[in-house]
């Protein structure tokens, strides 16, 4: 193998690393800001009338005491980010973990009366795993905070 070959390979290594690094930089720094899996209530309000009629994903926490059960599987609740909140109507049966204070992502369209009509309700799980006899398991607030990605009221 000639030393010329070796130099070509090292150049390729540096080139590939530089390319991969640049790609990473753009994905994380540039495109990353425009790549949004869900919007919080504040962001939706900021979008204003543009959100009307559009199908979007709304993420936040289920507000305490806001769950109202209707006929059959009809249900309504409020999604909050601590600053702004939105009423959501839902006709599907929610996942078993659905409860007050848990993080949710709902695929919604804005109905005429300003209420969000949910097509799909997803429940987020935090990064905490507690055994029943663990004293920390009673700390519900801490568990809610750990539902990261979904913003919790105290964090912002």
């Amino acid at each position: 193998m000639s030393s010329n070959d070796g130099r070509k390979r090292v150049a390729l290594a540096l080139g590939a690393c530089a390319f991969a690094g640049t790609l990473l930089y753009f994905v994380v720094g540039g495109i990353g800001n425009n790549l949004v899996y869900y919007w919080g209530p504040t962001e939706v309000l900021a979008a204003g009338p543009k959100a009307q009629g559009a199908s979007i994903r709304l993420g936040g926490l289920v507000e305490k005491g806001s769950i109202v059960k209707g006929e059959g599987s009809n249900m309504s609740f409020t999604v909050t980010d601590g600053k702004k909140s939105f009423p959501v109507r839902c006709t599907s049966v929610p996942p078993q973990m659905f409860r007050e204070g848990i993080g949710v992502v709902v695929e919604v369209t804005v109905a005429g009366d300003g209420v969000f009509e949910s097509h799909r309700l997803m429940v987020s799980h935090g990064n905490e795993y507690r055994a029943p006899d663990d004293p920390a398991s009673v700390d519900l607030k801490k568990l809610m905070d750990s539902t990261d990605g979904i913003r919790s009221p105290d964090k912002e």
């Binding site: 769950i67 929610p94 078993q96 973990m97 409860r99 848990i102």
Partner: protein, 46 residues
């Protein structure tokens, strides 16, 4: 709407059965291909 998952063992069992098959299957495949390559390299050397 208790906020707790009740049951669901079928999901747990499905995950563990699939995982066991993949881990064991991959280990078997690595060992089998290793044995096959031994006989192949003997043939070329003889």
């Amino acid at each position: 709407m208790s906020g707790e998952i009740v049951g669901g063992w079928e999901y747990v069992i499905a995950v563990y059965v699939i995982s066991a098959l993949v881990y064991a299957g991959y280990a078997y495949s690595v060992l089998r291909r290793d044995n096959a390559s031994r006989s192949l390299s003997k043939e070329t050397k003889s």
